[in-house]
């Protein structure tokens, strides 16, 4: 059973800029000629950063599937998330090369530094921490990405300081 919680009875807002409207537009404007449940889910997540109920519902409307069918597809892939992401993303590569060259200690160090049990969002909502199977920069292993910017030859210290910089900037922004 999924543990995703969703605020029940969120207002059914279809006004421009609402989640439902943004999802609808993203699904309609898919460039690919073949529109499937999966492609529509990807388009919605690209737009919104996650898949709220409204997005699942819109995909079901566009593809003629039941919401439960769409959910069956969406819940199958760990790459889909159903809660809003944190404000910043930090990914660590745990592909073979990075693993051999020391990704594990960095990964574990960061997990405990961020106060997490593994992948996930920090409590303050500033950072989404994710494992990545390959960031595609093996020559620079161990690699990480900070807000989608790649960084190579990482060490734990370097990673922690980068993370702290992001957090500091985040605090400044929020203030």
């Amino acid at each position: 059973m999924t543990t995703t919680s969703r605020p029940h009875g969120a207002p059914d807002d279809a006004s421009p800029g609402s989640l439902r409207e943004r999802a609808r537009r993203a699904i309609e404007e898919q460039p690919s000629p073949t529109v499937t449940v999966l492609s529509s889910l990807l388009a919605a997540q690209d737009e919104l950063g996650y898949l709220p109920y409204e997005a699942v519902d819109e995909v079901s409307l566009r593809t003629g599937s039941s919401v439960n069918e769409v959910w069956a597809v969406a819940s199958f892939y760990p790459n889909f998330r159903f809660t809003p992401p944190a404000r910043h993303s930090v990914e660590i590569c745990w592909g073979p090369t990075c693993h051999v060259l020391g990704a594990q200690p960095i990964l574990q160090g960061l997990v405990s530094h961020l106060g997490l049990d593994g992948e996930g969002d920090t409590e303050d909502g500033s950072i989404s921490f994710k494992y990545n199977t390959c960031l595609g920069v093996c020559p620079h292993a161990p690699a990480m990405s900070f807000d989608h910017e790649l960084a190579g030859r990482m060490s734990l210290d370097e990673a922690v300081s980068r993370v702290e910089r992001i957090r500091a900037a985040d605090v400044e922004q929020s203030a």
Binding site: H8, E54, V56, D57, S60, V70, W71, Y77
Partner: protein
């Protein structure tokens, strides 16, 4: 391709058909191959790997449920490799399934009712599994004599048991992810209210985001429960009860007449209903009413003894006293001062006796059945075709290329009729046209949805007919050969021009044309109609046009084509057949127009059949108030008297001199009666019901409520008749009555009780000590009933009526009138079209927990045509309320839409709300008290904001 091929299974030669899967071929031949995810009737899936076998000349161990048979195939079900694969599969399944029930050392010591001595963990105990002793996983493990090397080392998933939804309990800790339930919901029912979620080790059955079934589109049909092999899905009611025996009978909730297997426990209580897998009327399907609505048999509140009014008070009496009192009280009221109202749950035999009692003993024609409040929808069919009946069978609808459903709420009223339609639409083989001012479940599946102004269906169908004629789409060869009155009919269609019809109904002309094309040109087309939104006299016109449409397009008497009237009541068809209707005699003959039939019946009954008009249904109560009817006999469950469709029932009863009622429960009717007989309910009766496809099905006694000293209405009628000195009521039980029906009703000729018990499908199943799905275990000798007019014994009956000729040779097409919209009361200028759907895409309801139960909560939308909104000074988003003439008020938020015709307020609520209401009702039989969704006049007003609460 050969029609028959031979394969060898375990050294035995088996003849089977190409296309069958090996597992089914083996099971059909009585050779058992274990399986857990396979279920007959569903597509091969191949998930559980329990049915693996070895095939000579083929590598590996293929799953026999996905392996089609091949001529000359040699199958070995007991090969070492296959057995080992199965054992490993079982090991893996048990590694996540609580299985104390298999390993506890007291398994053979405990009796079935013993209290658990707590030798194992709570979640592990056999007594904490509702499917204990009928679990396919447990049986399969025992069948395999699995060595449980590491007992109780399994991973308990610790998921919350879902018990907040109506009717169902879901405990996914017991789920083995065979996907039978999701496939049943998808393939069999077309709902997809549940699906597989997550993946790999976490895969489970669930709804979108773990929502309640109330908002996921569930229709609570119970199909998933019926196929679940373990205790994951169970009925909440009688969850822990075990069957002492099972009995086959027919459901008494609606005219589909689903054959059900009822489980009865040691205390003679009916505890479970399982739809019969191979029954021709329902093919293993049921609905929320049939699956969960049987509990009233067992109810404690039933009337236990006959009651007689003495000194103004109802007092208990003996049967003899009560019968004498009834006979004495009725005797002075012979003639037109007497009326009898039967119940739709009465059997054919009771109904026949009721009309015979009324006509022979009392000399009155005022006899009707309470559910027959819309006789118009069959009158028109009799006018044209000759019978008060539909022409087709339910499951033929799966082969129809087009289906038009006119003002009928199938999902709630004749649920299983909708199943083949939904399946065919989802398979892409059928075009569905829905004509309904309400939004109902089927509109979601419709290729075309026409929303006429309520009550204008006859005009709309007339427009469609004219459009078919004008565009040359009519099948003139069929019309010329099989029908008369065509030219007169076409002449009547003069006012039904496209523009006039569009203006009258509010349906765009283009949609009318499209509907005409779809219906006339798609192929075999069926027309289902309920007349829900029509008003009184216009229903006869509606059914005449329906019949004319079918004749005009040649859609009668062909497979997949025909018309089906959708009335309420389990045995309304039987009532029409045996003459429980004032103007008609047994055998679909009008009393006043068929002197020869009247004579024949007078001879059969030995008393002249009265000729004068009788009052039917609501007229009865009007006549009672006017003093023209002084005594009444009311049979069975009194359920149609509350919703106003029969007029002022209680007022009428108050005016009577003498009232006799038979009833299972005390009601406002029994309170007014002079004599009350405790009556048997459907599960206690023997007799026959006739369903909407004219199938006469035997009703067998399932159980008897031991608290109650009840008798069938047949016994009561016969006893009272005999006490009044009448002849011809000395039947020796329902079979003898059925014999007399076969004499009086020509269509029933050839039907006898003995033959009904002989007409069965002998389903070969593997021996019952082998683990099987409940539905498979219960099937075997399926009583199929007989469709009238019935073929001689041995010949296969034809579901289609009128293949070669209509009852009177040619169809007698009838002139049709244009019925304008009725004048609206100026105080209630709009019509409220209240619909109900399973799920409303694009909107999310709120589900809150009240007490321990889920409830739907949401702000309803009152959808208006912009013109009406402007007139009422309302705009999008305003809070408003609609009020009916009787003061009922509903609130909602205004939404504007051009799709709603002017003059209509559309309100669509969720089925989940109804499910909760029914589930939480404390009425003995809530299923029978579900209000119909009829269009009613309303006024709409803005709701003033009180400025914060």
């Amino acid at each position: 391709m050969a029609d028959e091929i031979t394969i060898t299974i375990d050294g035995r030669e088996v003849t089977t058909e190409p296309g069958k899967m090996v597992v089914q071929a083996a099971n059909d031949a009585g050779i058992y191959i274990p399986y857990l995810c396979y279920h007959p009737g569903m597509k091969p899936y191949g998930a559980c790997r329990m049915c693996v076998v070895e095939i000579e000349g083929q590598r590996g161990t293929p799953a026999s449920c996905t392996l089609p048979v091949r001529d000359g195939m040699v199958v070995n079900t007991q090969g070492g490799d296959a057995v080992q694969v199965r054992n490993t599969t079982l090991d893996l399944l048990l590694s996540e399934h609580p299985h104390g029930c298999l390993t506890c050392h007291r398994i053979d010591l405990c009796g079935p009712q013993d209290i658990c001595l707590r030798h194992v963990d709570v979640v592990d105990r056999c007594v904490t599994c509702p499917k204990n002793e009928r679990c396919e996983l447990k049986d399969t493990t025992r069948f395999h004599t699995q060595e449980l090397v590491s007992p109780l080392t399994y991973q308990y998933r610790n998921l919350q048991v879902e018990t907040k939804d109506p009717f169902y309990d879901r405990d996914y800790n017991l789920c083995i992810v065979c996907a039978r339930c999701t496939r049943a919901c998808d393939e069999l029912r077309g709902d997809v209210a549940i699906g597989m979620t997550e993946r790999a080790g976490q895969v489970l059955v669930g709804t979108v985001m773990g929502d309640s079934l109330l908002e996921s589109g569930c229709e609570f049909c119970g199909a998933c429960i019926d196929v679940c092999p373990v205790g994951a899905l169970t009925e909440t009611a009688y969850k822990w009860e075990r069957p002492a025996r099972v009995e086959q009978s027919v459901c008494a909730e609606c005219p589909v007449g689903c054959t059900m297997t009822y489980e009865v426990n040691h205390w003679e209580r009916v505890v479970r209903a399982v739809p019969e897998l191979n029954a021709p009327a329902n093919m293993g399907q049921a609905c929320f009413k049939g699956k969960f609505g049987f509990d009233y048999v067992n109810d404690k509140r039933r009337i236990r003894k006959p009651l007689v009014r003495r000194d103004g008070e109802l007092q208990e009496a003996s049967w003899e006293e009560a019968i004498a009192a009834a006979a004495e009280g009725l005797a002075p009221h012979r003639g037109s001062a007497f009326a009898l109202m039967a119940s739709p749950r009465n059997t054919n035999e009771e109904l026949y006796a009721a009309q015979k009692f009324t006509r022979v003993v009392m000399g009155s024609n005022s006899v009707d059945v309470a559910s027959n409040d819309r006789p118009g929808i069959v009158e028109g069919l009799q006018d044209v075709f000759g019978y008060f009946a539909g022409t087709m069978t339910v499951w033929e609808l799966a082969d129809s290329a087009a289906v038009m459903v006119v003002s009928a709420n199938l999902t709630e009223e004749q649920n299983v009729v909708g199943v083949p339609v939904k399946r065919a639409v989802r398979a892409g083989t059928q075009q569905l046209i829905v004509v309904d001012s309400r939004e109902v479940e089927l509109t979601r599946y419709a290729s075309l949805w026409l929303r006429p102004y309520p009550g204008t269906d006859p005009v709309l169908l007339g427009g469609i007919l004219r459009c078919i004629v004008d565009n040359g789409l009519a099948d003139m060869e069929f019309v010329n050969e099989r029908a008369e009155g065509w030219d007169e009919l076409v002449a009547c269609l003069a006012p039904f021009t496209l523009d006039a019809v569009a203006a009258e109904t509010g349906v765009p002309a283009s949609s009318i044309e499209q509907a005409a094309r779809l219906y006339a040109t798609s192929g075999p087309a069926a027309l289902l109609f309920g007349g829900d939104s029509s008003i009184g006299g216009t229903r006869r016109t509606l059914s005449r046009i329906v019949a004319a449409l079918a004749v005009a397009t040649g859609n009668v008497g062909k497979p997949g084509a025909g018309v089906m009237p959708l009335y309420q009541g389990a045995n309304t068809q039987g009532a029409l057949d045996v003459g429980v209707w004032p103007p008609a005699l047994p055998g679909h003959n009008l009393t006043q127009e068929s002197p020869e039939v009247r004579e024949a019946l007078s001879a059969l009954w030995g008393v002249p059949v009265p000729l004068e008009h009788g009052g039917g249904n609501r007229h009865m109560f009007d006549h009672a108030r006017e003093g023209r009817i002084k005594a009444m006999l009311m049979l069975g469950d009194h359920v149609h008297y509350e919703d106003g469709t029969l007029g002022d029932v209680l007022g009428g009863l108050d005016a009577l001199d003498f009232l006799v009622a038979t009833s299972a429960f005390p009601s406002e009717i029994t309170e007014r009666a002079n004599v009350v007989f405790p009556s048997e309910v459907w599960a206690e009766k023997t007799g026959t019901y006739t369903n909407v496809e004219r199938r006469v099905q035997p009703l067998l006694k399932v159980a008897k409520n031991k608290r109650v000293d009840s008798r069938s209405d047949l016994d009561v009628l016969c006893a009272v008749a005999q006490a009044m000195g009448a002849q011809g009521f000395a039947w020796d039980g329902p079979p003898q009555v059925l014999d007399e029906i076969a004499q009086a009703v020509p269509e029933y000729a050839g039907i006898s009780w003995e033959r009904l018990l002989r007409e069965r499908l002998d389903i070969v199943t593997t021996p019952s000590d082998e683990p099987q799905p409940t539905q498979v275990m219960y099937t075997g000798n399926v009583l199929t009933g007989l469709q009238w007019p019935c073929a001689p014994e041995g010949a296969s009956g034809d579901g289609q009526l009128f293949v070669d000729r209509f009852r009177h040779g040619k169809a007698r097409l009838q002139p049709v009138a244009w019925h304008s919209r009725p004048e609206q009361d100026a105080r209630f200028p709009l019509m409220l079209a209240h619909g109900r759907v399973l799920i409303e895409p694009g909107r999310k309801p709120n589900v809150t927990v009240v007490g321990k139960r889920n409830r739907v909560e949401r702000e309803e939308r009152l959808v208006l045509n912009p013109a009406d909104a402007a007139a009422a000074k309302l705009s999008e988003g305003d809070a408003a309320s609609v009020t009916t003439a009787d003061g009922t008020e509903r609130r909602g938020v205004v939404a504007l839409s051009d799709a709603v015709p002017a003059g209509v307020v559309s309100l669509t609520t969720l089925f989940g709300e109804l499910a909760v209401e029914v589930d939480s009702s404390d009425r003995p039989d809530p299923m029978n008290h579900i209000a119909r969704l009829n269009a009613v006049p309303v006024r709409i007003e803005p709701v003033q904001c009180s400025g914060g609460t």
